[in-house]
Structures are given as C-alpha cells and as structure tokens.
C-alpha cells in the first residue's frame, strides 16, 4: 500500500517536471524566480483550503461549501469595515463566522447523520446567499495597509509573498497531524470503515465535527488573505474555487471514497496545477479553456490506471462492448468534425 502512494507521488513529480520543461521551452518568462513567486499568490488561497479538504475527503466525506464560507467571511469583513470597525476586530469576527459555518456543516453531518454532499450543497448556496445579503451590490474597499500586507506583502525584500509563509507553516502542521498523530490515524480509520471505527472506540462524530469546523475556519482565513490581496471585497469573491480545491485534492491521490491519501501528494498536485495554469496563462490561454486541461488531468489521472486493468480483464470484444464504447466515440468524433466545420462557417458569417 505504501508503495502505491509512493508511485503516485513520483508520477506527480514527473508530471511537474514535464510541465516545467514544456513551459520553459514555450515561454522565456516561465523559469524566472520573481515571476514564479509572484504567480504563487494566485494559488495560495486554494492551497490553504486544500489542507482541511484532505482531512475531510480521507474520511470519505466532502465539503462543497468552502468557497462560500470564504465568501461570507470576507463579506462580513467588508461589511464591518464599511461600518467603521477596526480591521483586526472585523477579521477576528470573520474567522469566528467561518468556524461557525463549519460547525453548522459538521453538526448536520455528524449529529443528524445527513450526507455531506447534500448538506454542503445546501450551505454552498446558503452561505453565498448570505454574503450577497451582507454586501448586496456594494463592494468594500479601502482596507488599511497593515491588513493588505497579508495578501500583498513580500518577505525579506524578496518577492516571496507573506501568504506563502502562512501556507508553509499550515502545511507542516497539517502534515504532522495527518501522518504523525492518533487523530490522523483516526481519519484514515473512519474513511476505511466508519462503523468499525465507531465500535473500536474512535469518536467518529466528534472528529467529523472538528474537521468541518476546521475547514470553515481555514476557509475564512483564505477569505481574509484573498480580500487583502484584492484590496476589496465583493460578495462573489472566490466563487467557484471549491471545484479547484477538490480537483487539487483528488489529483493529489486522495481517494474520493475515503481512506487513502497523503499531504505530500496534495501539495505536489497543487504545484502541478499551479505550474500548468501559470504556463497556460503566459501563453494567453483563456481561463475557461485552461479548464479543459485541468478537467482532462483530473479524469485521466484516475482513468488511465483503471483502463489498463479493464482491458486486461476483458480481452473479448463482443458486440455489446463495441456498441457501448464504439458508438459514443464515433458520435463524439462526428460532432468534433461538425463543430469545427460549422464554427468556421458561422464565424465567417458573423
């Protein structure tokens, strides 16, 4: 088992190196420590939210509400700032609100036994909606410089973002907790067999409550950093980030069905997605088109190993199989052709 993890992480390293090589060839601006450090800012909020997500997915659950928790916390910060509050008092309350949001998720999931997918889907809308209620169509701006330092500041006269230091410290703490403490072992135990863990004396409910509260608190911290980096808050701040956070976690080898994964894998996967996106950004690839590459990466990372096994166990090609595999692929190819043909004509007319 340990061998399998190891192999996955080496694969990620190889992909990162390959992507770096490709990007270096394609753009002279890629391999530049100043550029790379500056670009890292774009992924730190995501990276911070990945850490508790690793915990949650290892237990076999999910949290779709992280970006909305980020949004409601940042919006509360903006709201209080607009109302003339001291920025640090506002930040403290924003963190508290994030933790409370996580606590609500955790309570519904752990104590009522509701499925995490549905609960966090509900709070995904609920928290984001409350962010809109707080700020409406207003934006909060004009944060004091001490606060924006959190997102825009650089360390030791270099280009190292302050948030990178925060992220680094958090990675160490989360990795130690996951791999070196009893709490961490419990997370794997719950993911492998929740009932068995419960009967073995693992405080399953309390642990679920804790990791969701932690997730909320950390999402609020990410919200503060993002608000500080932008220097302003709008209620839609960070929307859609939950998908990137989950993609990074799963691509890092954390099994969505629970029980497997490591912090090293998650960090490597963040690096891989960061390098890929930054490279594509340098080559002026639109954000939505970058999604195609990230989506393919996510699916292929699980599909390819499985496909090998599937082909190995199914050597006979019967009619049924041909229908199920051949027809969709043929139809997709046909549509692919139709696409580019009709697109050319339509764009010429428009």
């Amino acid at each position: 088992m340990a061998k399998r993890f190891l192999r996955w992480e080496w694969l990620l390293v190889a992909l990162i190196l390959a992507m770096t090589a490709v990007n270096t060839r394609l753009s002279p601006f890629f391999l530049d420590s100043t550029n790379l450090l500056r670009a890292s800012s774009d992924f730190l909020e995501i990276g911070i939210m990945v850490l508790p997500m690793v915990f949650i997915i290892i237990t076999g659950n999910i949290d779709l509400s992280v970006a909305s928790t980020l949004g409601i916390s940042a919006s509360l910060l903006g709201y209080l700032h607009n109302a003339g509050w001291n920025i640090w008092a506002a930040a403290g309350l924003a963190l508290l609100l994030g933790a409370l949001c996580g606590l609500l998720n955790g309570t519904l999931i752990a104590w009522l036994g509701l499925p995490s997918l549905v609960v966090t889907l509900g709070t995904f809308s609920f928290y984001r909606g409350l962010a809109y209620v707080l700020l409406g169509d207003q934006a909060a701006r004009g944060y004091p410089e001490q606060f924006t330092y959190l997102g825009q500041g650089r360390l030791f006269g270099t280009q190292t973002p302050v948030a990178l230091l925060i992220f680094g410290v958090l990675v160490l703490i989360f990795a130690l907790v996951l791999h070196r403490t009893r709490f961490g072992r419990y997370l794997y135990a719950i993911g492998n067999n929740e009932d068995a863990s419960h009967y073995s004396g693992v405080p399953v409910r309390r642990i679920k409550l804790m990791i969701y509260t932690l997730s909320g608190l950390v999402a609020a911290l990410a919200g503060l950093i993002l608000a500080a980096r932008f220097g302003s808050t709008r209620p839609d701040i960070g929307s859609g980030l939950e998908l990137t956070v989950i993609t990074v976690t799963v691509l890092g080898g954390v099994s969505i069905s629970g029980g497997k994964g490591s912090m090293v894998g998650a960090v490597l996967s963040l690096l891989l997605i960061g390098v890929t996106r930054f490279g594509m950004g340098l080559m002026n690839v639109q954000g939505q088109v970058q999604g195609v590459v990230i989506g393919l990466l996510l699916i292929l990372s699980i599909l390819l190993p499985n496909l090998g096994r599937w082909v190995a166990t199914r050597p006979t090609f019967d009619r049924n199989l041909l229908l199920r595999v051949g027809v969709p692929l043929l139809a997709a190819a046909l549509f692919g052709w139709f696409f580019f043909w009709s697109r050319g004509l339509a764009l010429a007319i428009k």
Binding site: I62, L108, L112, G113, L114, P115, L117, V118, V119, L121, G122, T123, F124, S125, F126, Y127, R128, G129, L130, Y132, V133, G136, P235, L243, I246, T247, V250, I256, S257, Q286, Q288, V289, G291, V292, I294, G295, L296, L298, I299, I302, L303, N306, L307, R309, W310, N320, R324, V325, P328, L329, A331, A332, F335, F339, S342, R343, A346, L347, I349, K350
Partner: protein, 320 residues
C-alpha cells in the same frame, strides 16, 4: 412499507408548499392568479426536464455535475448551426441538441463504467471540459436574438395549444419518464441497481449497462434543455447555465430523492422544482431583496433534508 414511506415524504413537500402558498397569497394577492401560476411553470420547465435526468443518476447513487455545461454547449452549437442554416427545420434543430447531449452523456457514462471513475470526479472533470469546449467552439463570441431565425425564437414561447410549448415539452418529459420508471423493465432495473448493486448483479441485471444508460439519458435531456434555453432566452452565451447543475441536484433532493440511491420518483422531483420556483417567485412578489434568493434556496435544501431525516428516524423508531 417502502411505498407508504415514499408517499409520506411527498406529503411533506405538499404540506410545505400549501403553507407557503397560503402565506404568500396573504401577503400578495397577485400570487394566486392564473398568469402568475403560468409564469412559475415557465420558469421551472427547463429545470424539471434536466432534474428528471439528474434524478435517474442519483437513484443509481451517482451525480451528474456536467449538465450545466452540456446545456451551454448544446445551446451554443445549435445557435451557431442556425446562423449557418437559418432554414433548418425545428425537429432537426431539436434532434441536433438531443444527439449532442446524448453523446456527451455517453462519454460521461463511458468514463464512469468502463473507466471505473467515481461519478463525482468524472462529471466534475467533464463539467470543466465541456464548458471549455464552448469557448473553443465560439471563440468567446455570443449568438444574439437578431441572429436567430424567428421560427426558432418562437419554439419555446408559442402557444398553439393554449399553453406555451416549453411547458408542453416539460409535461411530455414528465409523462414519458413516469412511464419509463414505473412500467418498463429498464426503469425498474434503475431502482434495483441503486438499492443494492450487488444484489442487482446477482439477479442478472447488467448494472454497468444500466448506469451507462442513466448518464446517456441525463445528457440527452440536458441537450434538449439547451435548445429550449437558447430559444427561450433568445441568446447563447459562453456562460449559459453556468452553475445550473446545483439547482438540478436541489430539486430531486428537496423532492425526496435519496442521495444514497434507490428511491425517489417523478412526482417528488416535479414538486421539488415547483417549490424552488414558488420561492423564487414569492420573494419577488413580497418584495424581499433579490439578494435573499440564493440564501433562501440553500436554506430550503437544508430544511428539506433535516425534515426528511427527522421524519424517517421517527418512522423507523415507530416501527421497532
């Protein structure tokens, strides 16, 4: 027992809807008018069509997060085709969207069954991929109302039978789906696979094929919805139906479709969508800030699942 339970669940939503209707009609007399009722139905018609496909997927313990992107891609491709061939007959236009949706759904199904990728991962990936394809295809440009042929723009709106076509489309899908789920063997297989995949396999059901089929149907309905969407809003944009997948999951969940698979029905989904539609409509009529809309929708999902679980627990306790 299971039957009685399901019926009881839907009774809960009906009660909730009635209370809400009574409350809102007290606050705003305009709520209880035929015109307003038609407005609500128009607003939820597309949601109902896609949510029914989503329901099939959820019954088999899966989830299809790619439907929003399939709607967007179908809307864009059909609109582009209409720019090239303004005279394309309407049935062919619909067929094009349906075929595209079915193909995209089949790709999902293939990745999930042959590739053994968990549904949430597979469709999370194709959600980004299909959305990116819209950009690659349209180069970021939009299709506006004036570029669409008049006949196509009337497709959703016209009411030759006294009721707008869009509502008729939704009603037809509801009817067909009810027959499919209740009276056909493949429909019953879907419940069997969702309740207990192992038992279903031992009973001779080809589970992989059933799972493949539900993703094809979900994609197909999303493809159909894409054509109707383009016609109703008279536009195809790169962000058409962005985020819509969450509503399509919300409607079945509010309507008592169990996210762990195996149960749920057409009536519940329609009621769930109806409830979402009423809330949206009521907030506007009662003049609550539109900013509350999203929060209310989320709160509704939470209340529905909490209510459901508390009721279920009571029932289970009462039985033993």
């Amino acid at each position: 027992m299971a039957q009685a339970l399901v019926r009881f669940r839907e009774l809960g939503i009906v009660a909730f809807i009635l209370v809400l209707v009574a409350l809102v009609s007290l606050l705003s007399p305009a709520f209880l008018s035929l015109d307003n009722f038609r407005d609500i139905l128009l607003n939820i018609a597309i949601l109902v069509i896609v949510a029914l496909g989503q329901m099939l997927v959820i019954i088999t313990r899966g989830i299809d997060l790619s439907v929003g992107s399939v709607i967007g891609l179908s809307a864009m491709m059909v609109s582009f085709t209409l720019v090239v061939f303004p005279g394309l007959p309407l049935p062919l236009t619909l067929l094009l969207g349906v075929a595209l949706g079915a193909t995209l759904g089949a790709l999902n199904g293939l990745i999930i069954t042959a590739g053994n990728v968990p549904p949430i991962i597979a469709t999370l990936g194709t959600m980004s991929i299909y959305r990116g394809l819209i950009f690659l295809y349209s180069q970021g440009s939009w299709v506006n109302a004036f570029e669409m042929p008049e006949g196509f723009r009337q497709l959703a709106k016209a009411a030759p039978l006294g009721v707008p076509n869009l509502i008729l489309f939704a009603a037809a899908v509801v009817g067909l789906m009810a027959i499919f789920l209740t009276y056909t063997r493949r429909g019953r297989d879907i419940y069997a696979v969702g309740s207990n995949p192992d038992a279903a396999r031992f009973a001779g059901i080809r589970t992989q094929r059933v799972i493949f089929t539900v993703y094809v149907i979900s994609g197909l309905l999303a493809g159909l919805a894409g054509v109707l969407w383009a016609s109703r809003f008279e536009a195809a944009q790169t962000n058409t139906a962005l985020g819509f997948e969450l509503q399509t999951v919300a409607a079945p969940v509010v309507g008592g479709v169990n996210i762990f698979g195996g149960s749920g029905g057409v009536v519940g989904v329609v009621l769930g969508a109806f409830l979402l539609g009423i809330i949206q409509n009521a907030l506007t009529l009662v003049q609550i800030s539109p900013f509350w809309q999203l929060a209310a929708q989320g709160l509704l999902i939470l209340v529905a699942v909490v209510f459901d679980s508390v009721v279920l627990r009571r029932l289970r306790r009462g039985r033993t």
